[in-house]
């Protein structure tokens, strides 16, 4: 009689123990939400232009991590960006969603300081604080900080902001690579 009792107690303890181990293990193995978002965000171009439908790159990264947004919504990242996201998440790459906008070469905003009336509306729109100026004074874009996101354009009441191409550093041209395989003539006979 007491033998059966002992067996039951041992069995119960075992079951509890296994359950506990499994629980802890599951917690350990669960993907770390934060690091997934971090890694997605690291691939995004950080232009912060909101063309993806979210108010910045990190919010978009969070939406992708939640499975709410698709991976082809970021025009500044372009096809390369989609490919990198696909690779990171182990999915099939797909063409960029054309409705979100087009991929453009790097650009920066330039304020025509003679026409600026100092209304500060552009400062409030800039997602990276790249515009400086006080009320009723002319405003200036800090070129090194501007991402070219275009968000300062619509609010400007006098239309004095332009986007100009960002000067690219010189890159030595790649010489024509030789043919990588030797052509083999197939003879039919």
């Amino acid at each position: 009689m007491s033998g059966v009792l002992t067996a039951l107690v041992v069995l119960l303890a075992l079951l509890l123990g296994i359950g506990l181990v499994l629980r802890i293990g599951a917690k350990r193995l669960a993907p770390d939400e934060d690091s997934v978002v971090e890694r997605i965000n690291a691939v995004l171009p950080q232009t912060q232009c909101a063309q993806c439908g979210y108010p910045g790159c990190r919010p978009y990264a969070e939406a992708i991590a939640r499975g709410e947004a698709d991976i082809n919504q970021c025009p500044p990242g372009g096809e390369t960006g989609v490919r990198e996201l696909a690779e990171l998440l182990g999915r099939e790459p797909k063409p960029l969603d054309a409705e979100r906008g087009e991929t453009k070469p790097p650009q920066v905003a330039l304020i025509d300081e003679d026409r600026c009336i100092g209304c500060t509306l552009c400062i409030q729109a800039c997602p990276v604080d790249a515009i400086v100026g006080a009320a009723r004074r002319m405003h200036t874009v800090i070129e090194a900080d501007c991402t070219g996101c275009e968000l300062c354009l619509p609010p400007c009441p006098v239309d004095c902001i332009d986007l100009v191409p960002r000067p690219a550093p010189f890159i030595w041209p790649e010489p024509d690579a030789p043919r990588r395989s030797i052509p083999i003539e197939v003879r039919h006979g």
Binding site: N41, P45, Q46, T47, Q48, G56, C57, R58, P127, V128, D129, A130, A144, D145, T147, A168, P169, F170, I171, W172, P173, E174, P175, D176, A177, P178, R179, R180, I182
Partner: protein
């Protein structure tokens, strides 16, 4: 720090090539000043770093030696008017870097009088503090005249261990280039005096001047100049075997010390500073004559030049003028090169002006450029590995670069490549290896810039989000507090009303009672 005695024993660096010299053809004539051109074109930036702040406007009259730009840090190099004249314009003109590109230049029309106003000079430089000396050298526009135009002030002071020894590089071992040899022959005293000044400015107590093994005449002259002065630190002349690219900074240090400059380190980490002999002579001219860097010696040579020779050239002189002064070309020219045949840069135009780093102009005929040879696939022969002075694996670098695998190329130390051209020179498949390396470095550098920009944008975006969230929270807090207060006020009013009511009720009851009493 490792122990070594500079130049007592000569070591070898890996790889390298024995090349034919072709130097003497430009050394037969004595140094002569090149004629002043109609216009001098002076690029604001004389090196790949940031340009100084421009101090002149079109229409300004300037005298020789007058600063045209101002350096705001040790990384910037000011430029000075090479002669007296009028600033015609600030205009974009063709330059050597980026290849085929343009850069903002000060265009100066000489007035022919060549008036000169010296910089302020110390009465006795040996009484100046090291910082004061470096400040004067910086104001004189001193930069590496060997070709790299690295700002000398940034080399002399910085966050590095104390400097023990100064190496003056007079062993330019690339074929055709003979400007340093001509300088050492004609102005040995200036080099020795400059060496003393630079030793003083760095705190080095050992100075070695490295020259090539067949420069016997130069050795004699330098030694005579050393004996003539009572130098504070011993100055020695060391002859090194001429193997290309021995004149490379890292290679020369390895030959003299047996040590390798660390991977992403500097010669300063070994307690060494390496400067060109021409830089030393220019330091002397700044501190004694008050003459900033406004001219340099340029070799004009190559099989396409009728009368190869060395000129003393005012900065800003277009190359076309120098070629004309060397009696022109022998016929059709296929390529103009700035620097030597191994590591030089092809030039897009003969309107490109001489800058502080222009050591040699080569004119090559069609039969000298081996360009017509077809590029073949790599056959893994290993020749390129054998000659690489930086101990790299050139063919592996090449394979990863053509596969657009830039990260692996970086891991294989692409950035240690000094672009000497040895590998491409021996490659039996005629692969333009160095062009691939330059391309790969450019792509990786640009990526670095983009990554840094993205990181900055990310940080600024997050800072702004945090700030906005904080402001929002503060606002909500205020609103809630106000609502609370209002509610409190309501409650207070209710309470007051209730109290009044109670009082009134009691009063009524009292009067009622009283009435009852009265009745």
């Amino acid at each position: 720090m490792a122990e070594f005695e500079l130049g007592r024993h000569l070591y070898r660096f890996p790889g390298g090539l024995k090349l034919r010299h072709h130097k003497q053809i430009a050394c037969r004539d004595p140094l002569t000043p090149a004629p002043l051109p109609e216009r001098l074109w002076l690029p604001l930036a004389q090196h790949q770093g940031p340009a100084g702040e421009c101090l002149v406007e079109p229409g300004d009259r300037v005298v020789g030696g007058q600063p045209l730009t101002r350096a705001r840090s040790d990384r910037e190099v000011p430029i000075h008017a090479p002669t007296s004249g009028t600033v015609e314009a600030l205009r974009d003109g063709p330059v050597s870097w980026p290849p085929g590109g343009q850069a903002r230049c000060i265009v100066l029309i000489p007035d022919g009088e060549d008036r000169f106003e010296p910089l302020d000079v110390p009465e006795d430089w040996t009484y100046e503090s090291t910082d004061a000396l470096i400040e004067r050298l910086r104001a004189g526009g001193l930069a590496g005249l060997g070709g790299a135009v690295f700002p000398t002030a940034a080399k002399l002071r910085g966050e590095f261990p104390p400097i023990r020894a100064l190496i003056l590089n007079g062993s330019e071992c690339e074929p055709y280039i003979s400007c340093d040899e001509m300088l050492m022959r004609s102005r040995p005293e200036a080099i020795i005096e400059g060496a003393r000044m630079l030793a003083r400015a760095t705190g080095a107590d050992d100075v070695v001047i490295a020259i090539e093994d067949q420069m016997g005449e130069v050795r004699k002259r330098l030694n005579a100049a050393i004996r003539a002065v009572d130098a504070e630190a011993p100055i020695r002349v060391v002859q090194v075997t001429t193997i290309y690219p021995e004149g490379g900074e890292k290679q020369l240090i390895q030959v003299l010390t047996g040590q390798e400059v660390p991977h992403d380190g500097l010669p300063q980490d070994l307690g060494l500073v390496c400067l060109n002999v021409a830089t030393a002579a220019a330091a002397r001219d700044i501190l004694i004559d008050g003459r900033p860097v406004i001219e340099r010696i340029v070799t004009v040579s190559g099989p396409g030049i009728r009368h190869p020779r060395n000129f003393v050239v005012r900065l800003g002189t277009p190359i076309a003028g120098l070629i004309a002064a060397a009696d022109g070309t022998t016929g059709a020219i296929d390529r103009l090169v700035l620097g030597g045949p191994m590591s030089g840069l092809p030039l897009a135009s003969d309107r490109i002006p001489i800058t502080k780093g222009s050591n040699c102009i080569l004119a090559l005929r069609p039969e000298d450029t081996a360009r017509e040879q077809p590029v073949m696939p790599c056959i893994n022969c290993g020749e390129c590995i054998r000659v690489c002075p930086a101990s790299l694996l050139p063919q592996m670098l090449y394979k990863h670069l053509v596969a657009d695998d830039f990260d692996t190329a970086r891991e294989l130390n692409l950035f240690d490549c000094i672009e000497c051209g040895c590998c491409a020179h021996v490659c039996p498949s005629h692969i333009p290896l160095v062009d691939h390396y330059r391309h790969g470095k450019g792509v990786l550098r640009e990526r670095g810039i983009e990554d840094a920009r993205a990181a900055r944008a990310k940080a600024r975006f997050e800072a702004r989000e945090a700030r906005l969230a904080e402001r929002e929270a503060a606002r909500r807090e205020q609103r809630e507090a106000r609502e609370r207060r209002l509610k409190d006020a309501d409650r207070a009013q209710d309470e007051v009303r209730a109290a009044i009511e109670r009082a009134r009720a009691r009063a009524q009851k009292d009067t009622g009672d009283a009435g009852d009493n009265d009745a």
